[in-house]
Amino acid sequence: MKKILIANRGEIAVRVIRACRDMGIDTVAIYSECDRAALHVRLADEAWPVGPSAPRESYLRIDTIIDVAKKSGADGVHPGYGFLAENHDFAAACRGAGLVFIGPSPEAITLMGSKTAARQAAIKAGVPVVPGTEEPLNEQTSDAEVLAVAERIGYPLMLKAVAGGGGKGMRMVAMAAELPAALRAARSEALSAFGDGAVYLERRILAPRHIEVQLLGDHYGTVLPFVERECSIQRRHQKVVEESPSLSVSPELRRRMTSAAAAVARTVGYTNAGTIEFLLDADGSFYFLEMNTRLQVEHPVTEMVTGVDLVQWQIRIARGERLDLIPESLLVPRAHAIECRIYAEDPDNGFLPSPGRIQGLRVPQGPGVRDDSGAYEGGEVPIFYDPMISKLITWGETRDHAIARMKRALAEYQVRGIRTTIPFFQWLLEDEDFKAARFDTTFIDRKMGTPGSGPLQAIAAAHEELAVIAAAVHMFARSPATVAASSAPVSRWQQAGREEALR
């Protein structure tokens, strides 16, 4: 492969561009109207327009994207995550056009992409699953029929998109009365995110941990699992913090979970990168939840503790290389890594989306810090796409060390002009239960729902006073009277910003 088209945008497109550059492979970006000046467009070797801003008219347009791939002379396509990453038609269209799809086969996507079929595969591999519906409930299934199925499974239960992933189209349903509204919302979300409104039901395990196993499989039958990722810190079924390893997984449990994950993948002849998600119950039993047939958002924590570049390996596998990594080395984590997903959402205002222009950006640097970002100072965060603008990952000699570095990095991180979830993480990382790794998937909702657990943005009085001082200084400096009489620094700054005339 000499040239790869990245059928995605944002931080993951940038991530793939970087991996390609490290391999000496040319890159082709695609962009919608509002993304003309996005970072992935700036960093790619080529960039082609694919349509208007709405995803259905651009990043989900298989025909346009295949056409661009051919015109640009690309010989491979990386789908990233989201958009078309788990769309078997897209994988098939790539194959049909003679392009290498950097991911599993269309057949594997179809099979594991159906959450209900995937459950069957897990059962076949001898891996326990959460009790739930055998068949998908498509858009034609009436509310009454769904209610009947739900009664059989019992409440509380989880309503999930058959074509789902990333928490989209997922709802917890505590009682029958909630089902119709939840069904409507989940279907609408699923339809908009995946183009498929079918859902299924699963019993809700109370207070489970969400543990997942990264896999790589090559075209010669080798499937290798990696040390687990702990992804229990979720808000609205959306992961917000991930780490590796999990403090709740002993080496013995790790052996069993990673073997189970690899067994599921082998059962379906899986190739390229994929992830098996499990629920880990408080009693130590685990259940197959679903398989993500693509790269995960949180893949960097695995990279940080194993040293393996997963995107590079996706490409190497796709071009026919053998997976010659040492299996044992992938199961022994090197210390600890943690990731915080930085969303353009306002944690002080119900996590309301906060798109807009980034007026100022300071990215943290230094030892143990990695920032995978699609943002830059002056860039726009559009209203049309997922609000995640970057992923901050830290590595430390211990979990405490990784968390300490994360706190340091968050304190250095400034994203100005929009609101982000950075303050939310600062609150979270101070929580005693979080620090002790005492949590499950209900953690955030419980903590944030507890009255008196303190407002998220618990601004200390001292910080408030300093903010008042800073604002006063800023306004004072720019008032005409004081600017004229001010000292060198201010005027020199202004002078430096002045553009000289063309002579």
Binding site: P353, I383, F384, Y385, V468, I469
Partner: protein
């Protein structure tokens, strides 16, 4: 120079003056000595004298982001984001009166962020109850339902489904 600065639940009266190389910032009955150095168009390196000291040594790396309303900022410092509103002395008094007047008038439902109108749930003339959903704004693949603050009647709907709106745009008015 005198400001009124709102932060959190407090409105501080702040007087600021240059004295030689430093600034004297009076907040309430305390005067803080500040050595301020601009490090960007909207960024400052402040060294602040701790309470009881005249030596400005406490480091405060502060950057501001301006809101649409003049004098409203997010102040970023110590990894925190602190919204503040700065007015010239007396500014809040005037504003509060205006605000109070508006409080009793019709409810203007505005877009909390830029987005697209996913659904309009009412039409002009409809009677609505407090907490009733009026309009759904979609941004970043999330739907956000805006509700009525109190009972009333829809006077005017200014948007249609599918329309893009800026933050602050008036979507409908309930009286």
């Amino acid at each position: 120079m005198r400001f009124e600065i709102a932060a959190g639940n407090n409105i501080h009266t702040v007087t600021i003056a240059r004295k030689g190389a430093v600034l004297h910032v009076a907040i309430g009955d305390r005067t803080v000595i500040v050595d301020a150095r601009r490090v960007g168009e909207m960024a400052w390196s402040l060294l602040v004298a701790p309470e009881g000291s005249a030596e400005p040594v406490q480091g405060v790396d502060a950057a501001l982001a301006a809101h649409r309303t003049a004098g409203d900022f997010d102040v970023h410092l110590a990894g925190r984001t602190i919204p503040v509103q700065v007015r010239l002395a007396g500014g809040f008094g005037r504003q509060k009166k205006a605000g109070a007047a508006a409080g009793t008038g019709p409810q203007r439902i505005t877009a909390p962020m830029p987005g697209k109108i996913a659904r309009v749930l009412v039409t002009a003339g409809d009677e609505v109850k407090a907490r009733q959903g009026l309009v759904v704004v979609e941004a970043m693949k999330m739907e956000n339902e805006l509700r009525a603050a109190r009972d009333g009647r829809v006077r005017e709907v200014s948007v249609v489904e599918g329309q893009s709106v800026d933050a602050g745009a008036i979507l409908l008015v309930v009286e």
